[in-house]
């Protein structure tokens, strides 16, 4: 009778029954504990330390850090760079994904590969490339100098490097989404008399808006937080070409921990807000995001 004593509670005297997909509780808890420990050591602890260090001498010194003109300049510059590079990549991302998803043309796969390039190239290399092209000894350096245009060690270089690094975010988000949606609704709008631009505004854009916002969000987070490429082209001129991440590094190297971590709090806060919005979008508009986005 022991075979029949198999009960759903698993406490019968007979064979312990459990669905094949359920591991033993020992395995389950070990796995969960490992994951939690890993997250705690590598994610929560560093994040917590950023806040702890920033407020280690109280709220006063924390706020003082933001009174520093160099820190303010860094914040302004970061906002300026993001304000230029995010819209630039928004336009580029829309154009690229539109052409890739709705048309077939020679060199399409090359374009798709090129869009991914910034993901595979080290940001430092990206920065160096810009120095070689636009720097004083670079390809266009003498010509630019003769015309009084400075790109490297100035704001334009930082913007260029940031655009390069954040290049794929919007496009990679929109391409699968647009490919999935096809062009049938656009064609319907055209037969109903809508112009190309009106079709874009009234049909295409509403269909991709959440995916677009998602891409912009990720693009913005990266644009504000980029270190490597910007570091190479910036020249680290205080109050002029230091973005927040560069300023954090300088302050930290000067053992000014409170100021360094105060600025770091700003970046961490940005990351948390981005994460929050991203989660909200995924939860609220999962169906309007492409399958790729949901896997992030």
């Amino acid at each position: 009778m022991s075979e029949i004593a198999i009960t759903s509670s698993g406490r019968g005297r007979g064979v312990k029954f459990r669905p094949v997909t359920h591991d033993s509780s020992f395995a389950r808890y070990t796995l969960i504990a490992t994951a939690v420990l890993f997250l705690a050591i590598f994610l929560f602890a560093p994040l917590a330390i950023v806040f702890v260090e920033a407020f280690s001498k109280g709220i006063g010194p924390f706020l003082t850090a933001f009174g520093d003109p160099d820190a303010r300049a860094a914040i302004r510059l970061t906002l300026l760079v993001a304000a230029i590079s995010v819209p630039a990549n928004l336009v580029f991302g829309l154009a690229a994904s539109w052409s890739i998803a709705k048309f077939s043309f020679p060199g399409k796969s090359v374009l798709i590969t090129l869009i991914d390039l910034p993901f595979s190239v080290s940001p430092v290399v990206a920065g160096l490339v810009y120095v070689l092209v636009f720097g004083g000894q670079g390809l266009f350096g003498p010509w630019l100098a003769a015309h009084g245009v400075q790109i490297i060690f100035a704001v334009p270089g930082i913007v260029l490097a940031t655009i390069f690094v954040t290049f794929p975010f919007v496009a990679r988000e929109l391409i699968p989404l647009m490919e999935e949606q096809g062009k049938i609704e656009e064609e319907a709008a055209l037969t109903l008399g809508a112009s190309g631009f009106k079709t874009f505004l009234t049909v295409t854009l509403p269909n991709i808006k959440w995916g677009l916002l998602y891409g912009v969000l990720l693009c913005n987070a990266r644009a504000m937080g980029e270190f490597g490429a910007v570091s190479v082209v910036s020249g680290h001129i205080r109050g002029l070409t230091n973005t927040i991440p560069l300023q954090v590094e300088i302050l930290y190297n000067e053992y000014n921990n409170v100021a360094a971590f105060a600025l770091a709090v700003l970046l961490a806060g940005l990351a948390l807000v981005t994460l929050g919005l991203k989660t909200f979008l995924e939860w609220r508009h999962a169906d309007a995001l492409s399958g790729r986005a949901r896997r992030h």
Binding site: G193, A194, N207
Partner: protein
């Protein structure tokens, strides 16, 4: 099942009625693959025409060429005698119903229907109130009163189909184009909508072209059917003409069931497996050919007569007689033949068979069949 208010009907009659469409030598290549080859077709004002063919036959491509969504590589499209070949899709005023309806999912049903009016330039755009009134009329016309606030995802397939039609009619189109209008619907809804489409056509008087792969649908609905195969028009004709005088082996096989027997023509005599078939060869040249006939056109003949002979594989009693499954000598498939009781047939026995009607198509040097010859 569906009734319409006369007012709503009047609303759709504001459109120009019955535009003629002329297609002249249209060709379109997709890369190396020719999608349309020298297609010419005249569609009369107010006609209901079906483009019928298997998938890949170019029927949807032809519809898109008429709509202006594809521009042909060669040839011309004329609307009412005016060259419309280079007329942008926005200016063609075609009412297009797409295969999966292509409704704007982020808009309500009412907004979908109003779309074509709202995107007009300010000069020609009706007032808000006029648009609203028109939407209400059209909703009534397609039997969706009160559903204007719904989103497409909240509708059934048949309802979406009707929204797509209302949206297309809202712009007072010159012609109505439908791509597989019933393709995505289940059988019962299809039947209702077929009748309904016929009514709509009758009441709006619009020149209507629809694409289908379903020959029953084409035959039941259309005034004339255009049979397409591999980008070419095989035949244009009324359903009767297609059934009774199919112009090619493709048409006879695609439109209804057909049996094809490989035969030989020599000096005007047609032979199949050593037997002579009494088919008029009309002076067709000697050589291999194929005889086509419909299963209904073959019957058990009286003893001692008949064109063919077969063996009875099975027998089944029916109210009027017997249904025999017969294997024709020299033909690899069996046929079901109904015959009255007085014809003697026994299981395993041999029976003479006679052909009431058949068509013969000689083979060209590639072994393909072309050129119709009239049958018995």
């Amino acid at each position: 099942m569906l009734t319409r208010s006369p007012d709503a009907l009047a609303a759709t009659e504001g459109s120009k009625r019955g535009t003629s469409i002329r297609i002249e030598g249209v060709e379109q290549d997709f890369g190396a693959f020719p999608a349309l080859r020298d297609v010419s077709l005249d569609i009369q004002p107010g006609e209901l025409v079906a483009l019928l063919g298997p998938s890949g036959s170019g029927k949807t491509t032809l519809l898109r060429v008429i709509a202006g969504l594809n521009s042909p590589d060669r040839g011309r499209i004329l609307f009412d005698g005016e060259n419309a070949t280079n007329l942008p899709v926005q200016d063609r005023h075609v009412g297009m119903v797409f295969q999966n309806y292509a409704l704007f999912k982020h808009m309500t049903v009412a907004d979908n229907i109003a779309y074509g009016l709202r995107v007009r330039p300010r000069r020609t755009r009706p007032s808000r109130a006029a648009i609203k009134a028109r939407v209400t009329e059209l909703l009534q016309f397609v039997q969706l009163d009160g559903l204007g606030g719904r989103f497409p995802a909240q509708l059934s397939g048949g309802q979406r189909q009707r929204v797509a039609l209302a949206r297309a009619l809202a712009i007072e189109p010159r012609v109505l184009l439908l791509d597989e209008p019933f393709g995505a619907l289940d059988a019962r809804v299809r039947k209702d909508l077929r009748r309904w489409l016929r009514d709509i056509h009758k009441q709006t008087g619009l020149t209507t072209v629809f694409v289908t792969h379903d020959q029953d649908e084409a035959m039941e609905l259309a005034d004339r059917v255009v049979v397409l195969n591999e980008g070419r028009i095989e035949q244009i004709g009324t359903p009767e003409e297609l059934y009774d005088r199919p112009a090619s082996p493709f048409v006879i096989s695609f439109v209804g069931e057909a049996v094809a027997l490989p035969v030989t023509i020599s000096d005007g005599h047609v032979t199949f497996g050593g037997r002579e078939l009494h088919i008029d060869t009309h002076g067709l040249r000697s050589g291999p050919a194929r005889v086509f006939f419909r299963p209904a056109d073959i019957a058990v003949a009286a003893e001692g007569s008949g064109d063919l002979e077969g063996r009875v594989e099975s027998l089944r009693r029916t109210p009027a007689g017997v249904r025999a499954t017969i294997a024709i000598d020299g033909y690899d498939q069996t046929l079901e033949i109904d015959s009255p009781l007085d014809r003697s047939a026994s299981l395993g026995g041999r029976v003479p068979l006679s052909l009431a009607k058949a068509r013969i198509f000689p083979a060209d040097e590639n072994g393909d069949y072309f050129n119709a010859g009239d049958g018995i």
